[in-house]
């Protein structure tokens, strides 16, 4: 049984968590190009080595970050997102609604 250390709830079985994707900064959807947006949505570094990624503790709906080695399967550290996001991120409202 693999244990992940949740920054909020302490060490828990990894089956209580959901992988949430690579950590990458979101471009501003109101001002970025389609290509930049597609790159953000689809592409990934998919590196073999230490990566930084989002994880969710399912039971408490708590999102946090983890550094994990994708070859050795070692979780190096987990930490709260406030370590990176020191202030609130604001996005400009969409300029027009997309019908559909």
């Amino acid at each position: 049984m693999k244990i992940m250390n949740c920054p909020l709830n302490g060490p828990r079985n990894i089956s209580e968590f959901t992988y949430g994707g690579e950590f990458k900064l979101m471009p501003d959807p109101a001002s970025c190009s389609d290509a930049e947006w597609a790159d953000y949505v689809f592409n990934s570094d998919n590196a073999a080595g230490v990566v930084r990624e989002w994880w969710l503790h399912n039971a408490s709906s708590y999102w946090f970050l983890a550094e994990r080695h994708t070859v050795s399967d070692q979780i190096i550290r987990t930490f709260d997102a406030k370590e990176i996001f020191t202030q609130r991120v604001e996005f400009a409202p969409a300029t027009q609604e997309i019908a559909g």
């Binding site: 990894i14 089956s15 290509a35 790159d39 689809f42 570094d45 590196a47 073999a48 994708t70």
Partner: protein, 413 residues
């Protein structure tokens, strides 16, 4: 073939047939370098030599032939996908598989047993109707069957597993299996016979890209110039793409599978259920092969986990309760390059003369012949993409034209 048997059956001497010539030095340059000596890479080499007369080709494999996912998949051959692009492509592959053993003069143990997919919800039944129609439209043999027909096909199957009773089935008559290693060996043998050089234990460590064009590959045995190169590695596509400076929508997950002790024959078709995340088949040796969904998070490691074994086997036992007493013989994992739409990435790349055969996730083995044939056509024509694989271009993600096959994979991941 039968006459040879008669002739040499009565003779004391039997001619030794050499399948692969002994290894030799790498040449300084090749017209085509194929990175990866699995089924796909070898198939590309074979069809290049066979249909296009291109034989100044080197297949570079870092380990031994078919040592990657070619030998790790659960050897399912089928075409009952969901999109017209997907079905057209895979149906062509199924047709090619049917004649492959004759073409190779090498037994790939092709066995057309049919594939049965189970529906446990009304939503799945609706999706099955669509898949049956799309498949028939493109020449495949697929039909919807009811519980009674399923019972007749697979008498040992439990039709009422726990909370998920079986409502209907998608019966894909063309579904088949084959010996996956033999497919790679057959291609290797025939490609080598036509002059293709196959170099094992030759790892491509870097790519030389000059002015947006590939000119050479650096290996552990020295640098090799190339007119063009094809990337046909599974499980580590992103790492090779990164060497060429290409970003792609691939995330790499392990997929674990396992096999039991042998039993008397009881299961003819290949049976799968995406709701139970499980597909089951009995090999010609009598062993039962189980495959499941991918692991829950990305990893470049084929380790085994108890979590996955427990969940996969719990579902397998729900489907076939008598297996509760079966003993597991082996367990292994493949490293799968999953794309967001569960379709491959084939064709041109941002680097000139560098062709992609990547993102094969859990659907690569069944596409081996058609992928080899179409990729060979692409390479031989100097970059003219065949119609059949146009929809699978890397650009489909930046133009938002994905080919969604997520619902049609054997176990939704």
């Amino acid at each position: 073939m039968p006459f040879n048997l008669l002739k040499y059956g009565l003779s004391a001497e039997y001619p030794v047939e050499v399948d692969l010539p002994a290894p030799r030095e790498l040449k300084k340059a090749y017209d085509v370098v194929i990175i990866g000596g699995g089924g796909h890479g070898l198939a590309i080499a074979y069809y290049l030599a066979k249909y296009h007369g291109v034989t100044n080709v080197a297949v570079l494999e870092k380990s031994y032939l078919g040592s990657g996912n070619t030998a790790r998949n659960t050897a399912v051959i089928r075409s009952n996908y969901l999109t017209s692009e997907g079905v057209r492509f895979y149906a062509e592959s199924v047709k090619m598989f049917q004649n492959l053993a004759n073409e190779f003069d090498f037994n790939i143990m092709y066995s057309e047993r049919g594939q049965l997919t189970l529906a446990h919800t009304d939503a799945t039944v609706r999706a099955f109707r669509q898949r049956a129609e799309v498949n028939k439209h493109f020449g495949g043999r697929t039909e919807m069957i009811d519980r009674q027909q399923i019972r007749e096909l697979v008498p040992t199957l439990n039709l009422d597993p726990g909370h998920l009773p079986v409502i209907a089935g998608l019966w894909h008559i063309d579904g088949a299996t084959a010996r996956h290693d033999a497919v790679a060996w057959g291609y290797a043998k025939q490609a080598a016979k036509r002059g293709v050089e196959i170099h094992q234990l030759t790892e491509v460590q870097d790519l030389v890209v000059e002015n947006g064009r590939i000119t050479a590959v650096k290996t552990n045995r020295g640098t090799v110039q190339c007119g063009c190169a094809v990337q046909a590695i599974a499980g580590h596509s992103s790492l090779m793409l990164a060497k060429a400076g290409i970003r792609a929508p691939i995330q790499t997950y392990p997929l674990q599978a396992m096999v039991t002790q042998p039993f008397k024959p009881f299961l003819d078709p290949l049976v799968s259920s995406s709701a139970l995340h499980c597909y089951v088949q009995q090999t010609s040796r009598g062993e039962i092969v189980f495959g499941g969904g991918s692991d829950p998070y990305p990893l470049y490691n084929s380790r085994s986990t108890l979590d996955l074994k427990e969940s996969l086997l719990a579902h397998a036992i729900e489907m076939f309760p008598f297996m509760a007493n079966a003993k597991l013989m082996r367990q292994w994992a493949g490293i799968t390059d999953m794309t967001p739409d569960y379709s491959p990435i084939m064709g041109l790349s941002p680097v000139q003369n560098y062709y992609l055969d990547a993102g094969w996730g859990t659907w690569g083995f069944k596409a081996t012949p058609i992928c080899g044939k179409t990729m060979a056509e692409l390479v031989a024509s100097g970059g003219k993409v065949p119609e059949l694989i146009k929809p699978f271009a890397l650009e489909r993600f930046s133009s938002f034209q994905q080919v969604n096959e997520m619902g049609a994979t054997a176990a939704s991941h």
